[in-house]
């Protein structure tokens, strides 16, 4: 486990062509880390995320991805992810190979990955067309009951990246609020990078909390508001107005590119990204 700044950590651990999972189910989405990957112009990534959300819309639109494993690709409560759509519908800025699941299937795949089992098993996908378009969705006969059960191959990302509220000085990480599949995605990964709101002396009495102990963490960077415009429970709220505004930004290729240039590429880090939004709002 090492502490560092986000620029150096992404530079050291995220390589072109890797499979990477930036997890967080609506909550604690690691936007700062995603932006740093865009700034460092990583290419040919296999992006993994249950809900691609705005951060993968941005990574896809900026040409960082060649594959996507996902289970629900919309702007939650708003509508489309237009950059994801443009890649699938028109191959812009490059074709995107998709591996599409249901949420239950992705959850089972991460759980299997964390347990280092070869596949996850569930009663799922029944009567749907998904197995017909995703050859990874198969089935197995239960050796005890004879029942046919759906299977999905384990997900073991090269790198999982999370955002969390708190780490202590030893590198133990604590997550509060909606915890999604973060623990499973973290333990399924070969390397785990975490950005945190704060680093404290003592995590508190966290007996039943989601805690990722320091020896499963590769690197930690402190990035205040690192999940913005997603949120960090107890620290800041989800900026729903931003999610609504993204609809118009992402709809048009040129508007999108100009926005990414101004607010991500032309900014040195996440603090500058936040400042650039404040300047625009002023």
């Amino acid at each position: 486990m090492q502490f560092g700044n986000l620029l150096e950590i992404i530079d050291a651990f995220v390589r072109d062509g890797q499979s990477i999972a930036l997890e967080g189910f609506t909550h604690l989405i690691p936007f700062a880390a995603g932006h740093e990957i865009i700034r460092q112009r990583r290419r040919d990534l296999h992006l993994i995320r249950m809900t691609p959300d705005l951060i993968y819309d941005q990574l896809i639109g900026m040409g960082c991805a060649r594959e996507l494993t996902f289970s629900w690709g919309g702007n939650p409560g708003v509508g489309s992810l237009y950059r994801l759509r443009d890649a699938v519908e028109h191959g812009w800025p490059q074709p995107l190979r998709i591996h599409e699941h249901s949420h239950a299937g992705m959850a089972a795949a991460y759980t299997a990955g964390a347990a280092r089992l070869p596949f996850g098993v569930l009663r799922g996908y029944a009567g749907t067309d998904l197995p017909g378009v995703n050859a990874q969705i198969r089935s197995v006969i239960c050796p005890y009951s004879g029942e046919r059960l759906a299977t999905v191959p384990a997900l073991n990302p090269d790198v999982t990246i999370l955002h969390a509220q708190t780490a202590d000085r030893n590198g133990n990480v604590r997550i509060d609020g909606i915890v999604g599949a973060q623990k499973e995605a973290a333990l399924a990964a070969r390397q785990l990078i975490v950005t945190v709101e704060r680093i404290v002396d003592d995590l508190g009495h966290a007996m039943n909390a989601v805690v990722l102990p320091h020896w499963v963490v590769t690197a930690i960077a402190r990035v205040p508001r690192g999940a913005y415009p997603s949120y960090a429970h107890g620290v800041y709220a989800r900026d729903n107005a931003f999610y609504l505004a993204w609809d118009d930004i992402a709809r048009d290729r040129d508007v999108f590119r100009a926005w990414m240039q101004r607010h991500v590429l032309d900014c040195r880090d996440h603090a500058q990204f936040l400042e650039s939004l404040e300047e625009q709002a002023a």
Binding site: W72, G74, P76, G77, E89, A108, Y125, D129, G180
Partner: protein, 276 residues
Amino acid sequence: MTGAPAVTGRTGADVSARAPWTPDEMMTIAAARLLRPGCVCFVGIGVPSAAANLARLTHAPDIVLIYESGTIGTKPDVLPLSIGDGELAETATVVVSLPEIFSFWLQAGRIDVGFLGAAQIDRFGNLNTTVIGDYAQPKTRMPGAGGAPEIACHARRTFVVLKQSRRSFVEKLDFRSSAGFLGGGAERAALGVGGTGPQVVITDLGVLKPDPATNEMTLVARYDGITVEQVVAATGWPLRVAAQVDVVPPPTEQELAVLRDLNERTRIAHARPFAR
């Protein structure tokens, strides 16, 4: 109703029921009425979320609302924009992980009603939320299935809510994202799909239920001011119509006032810019 004083909601807006209701309001209210007190409901974002919370704020205060973000027994004061808004966690009885919500709660059969929306539905209640056109070269790529495939096969019954038109009520789905009664009759049960399937479809024109023998969706009720012919014309297949089509009672003043106040609170909350 005339001469009644204006009803002012907690936001201060006039939410009195004297204004005529919209088709969306009627659809949401009709859906809310179908949720029984005490039922355990797995809720999707949009109309299902509005209807489930309206039920909780009117006739079913003890309804248990579960969102797939792992929030169990949640009682949001404003409707969540996303399935994982902080509001849902703060007001929940307990928050669990995604693998847990899908395996221990949904797959294990602890859900009474799964409440789904869709872009397309066919006559047997199968749903499409994935693509319009060919999967490999879609005309329109939609968000996809999310939690729906397993909600559709593990909830004891599902309720479907969507606006009715020839674009949404189609002869043939472009993609089957979640299972209704498949090809009809006993095909669903024969495949071993769990639950009893879509037991009701609530639209902005009326209410459909599966025929007991064929499981084909059949018009059983229409809204005040909507004709059976209008509903048939808005359906992309020759719609079966029950021998007796009931008229759904119009919204009460209380239902409209509570729904409008909820929507107004929500609108204000979602427009609030980033708190610095």
